[in-house]
Symmetry: C2
Subunit: 364 residues, 2 copies
């Protein structure tokens, strides 16, 4: 019963110093690993520290040094494979440089994002990586720089903000995916995203507040336009935030007078929901309808048919963001830039060639 929940005051350098019969300053030097001390005294202090089970109070330490050794991450949703992979990339880069990581979830809600950023600033992290939910509300992000800590944007960029960003090449990725479908003979393509729609309906591309989504839509639209397909925005749908919503989106899409024959899903969660929707409707992929999903999630390779995906190299994105932030923290002089990680199309079997010619499988 000797080590119960007693809120005993913890052992400090002063305690160790007293036990080792040296001054606080000297004990602090050996415990903190700075300055010079003779080997004899050092052993003496170490022994005392071990006997007392001293463990440093990192709080106090970072208060006087001004460095906490931790970097803060604010992600949209850790449960999303995209973010958990990214977090691992960031963590790996951070750990390599001797930093630890504290993660906060915004749930893609602006309010939660704001308070997470504030909290992290308050905790005096050494730097911040944020996936901004919207690019039109950036005051809280300005605070970061004003508090003197570096910020790296992840997955989405905000030109108005003079900070580094790591993103995928979303426009090119969407172009590659859309073009692949068009070349397979598709004439009616839909784009489905989970982003909250402002008011249910979809209005203006330029006003999409998430840069990744906007660029993808722009790329998507540009392909349709260039292919001379009419009304390229007609099948762009937002709001597939959960299964019922997605079912609804898909149903409305398919009840169109000339329904789409191919769907591009903007992330693996949306992709999975679309797949389930289609499946529950008794539709067969790719015979009845084709699809491509962003992100090479684990489920995409074990379905029948396996899904053609845009491989985003998320781990690399995370690693890059982590490295960039570390470089900023260490004051390495670097121009502010937007780093893009290239994507590639992983062709599997979820896109049919239509128009009567060729096999009903992915073209390559």
């Amino acid at each position: 019963m000797e080590d119960s929940a007693a809120p005993k005051r913890s052992v400090t350098v002063a305690d160790v110093a007293k036990a080792a019969r040296v001054s606080k300053a000297t004990a602090a030097r050996v415990l903190g690993g700075y300055g010079v001390v003779s080997a004899k005294i050092k052993d003496q202090v170490m022994a005392a520290a071990a006997a007392l089970e001293y463990r440093p109070n990192e709080l106090a330490r970072s208060m006087s040094t001004g460095r906490s050794g931790i970097i803060g991450i604010v992600v949209g949703d850790i449960e999303n494979a995209f973010f958990s992979l990214a977090v691992r990339g960031i963590s790996d880069a951070a750990r390599l440089a001797g930093f630890n990581v504290i993660i906060s979830n915004s749930g893609e809600k602006l309010d939660a994002e704001k308070s997470a950023v504030d909290l992290l600033i308050g905790k005096r992290v050494d730097g911040l990586i944020v996936t901004p939910a919207r690019c039109d509300s950036i005051d809280h992000l300005r605070h970061v720089g004003r508090a003197g800590m570096p910020l790296v944007l992840f997955d989405r960029s905000i030109p108005e903000l003079d900070v580094d960003a790591v993103t995928g090449d979303d426009r090119e990725a969407a172009i590659a995916a859309a073009r692949f479908m068009v070349e397979a003979g598709h004439r009616h393509l839909a784009y489905v995203s989970a982003m909250d729609a402002e008011d249910g309906g979809f209005t203006d591309v330029a006003r999409i507040s998430n840069s990744a989504v906007r660029e993808r839509v722009e790329g998507f639209v540009s392909v349709l336009t260039e292919a001379g397909l009419p009304n390229p925005l007609h099948y762009v749908r937002l709001g597939a935030t959960d299964q019922p919503q997605t079912d609804d989106v898909i149903k409305r899409l398919l009840s169109d007078s000339s329904p789409p024959t191919a769907i591009l899903a903007s992330d693996s969660l949306v992709g999975l929901r679309v797949f389930k929707s289609l499946q529950s409707l008794g539709l067969s992929i790719p015979d009845d309808i084709s699809m491509i999903s962003f992100l090479d999630a684990d489920w995409t390779s074990v379905t029948v048919p396996p899904i053609t995906v845009v491989d985003q190299r998320v781990y690399e994105m995370g690693k890059l963001a982590g490295e960039r932030l570390v470089a900023r923290i260490e004051q390495i002089p670097l121009a502010v830039e937007r780093l893009r990680v290239s994507t590639s199309l992983v062709i599997r079997s979820s896109v049919a060639r239509i128009g009567g010619l060729g096999p009903k499988r992915d073209v390559n």
Copy 2:
């Protein structure tokens, strides 16, 4: 250019006090929201704080109060859906109680776990939730209590440690799954886990250092024994830590003189690897071989056939662990206990009835 990367000293209560022409103590009272101040002075201070863009230094705050308002989590692998779901459960419970969360990854490595725990103790978190990689090395966990902070074990329990634990009912779950297979006529059942094997081979159930895995194996074995099946440990295999390893495990399993006809996978990652292995071997599920996986992961419902799984209610587990820790932090008097969250079998179509009778589908 006025708010560049200048490492400007941040605004403190003293600064605000000076600007508001009051004492530091008074400014601190309104900024910290404690004590009593007249409405007039309060407004005055608030205005000054706003003008100066004051934001509290949480580090300093927690140093004097002794509370950080954050709880630490050490998980095995955030990328594993099991843990990311659990983390969400914990976070939700924590946020509700006004706590924030800091997550560390151990990668199921004891060393990483130790240093993560040490780091978190150093950061003076208010409490800790840990998924211990092994139950036979617990010194670092003892430190937690000794440092005066509550600890809750997650997913795995350690009887030697007098602390709360939240786990699934692993033994019962394994029994239900194994019994389901036995009742479907299977006589040769395999159990495959990702846990690192001590030396490649498998020796003694009682010596499995992970309580969740051990209980599952025990449950599994008890069913085979009770059914009068010989050599129940024969097909228990550890070490399916990645795809090549799993391929190897499966190959060795199937080249046995009387190969298993059904496999129980101990988590969704192993399950997916097993599925892929089987698929790459050209084996059809459930006609050639049956399988059940732990955890109702998203991929399990979209494969052909959909996989019968043990639904672990991980979110609830996380929530419970979070709530328990919060209660401990708030010193609510509670007996130390092991909370078990019940599981259920979700029957889909990956287990065939064998022995010639009935359809080759899951029995229910």
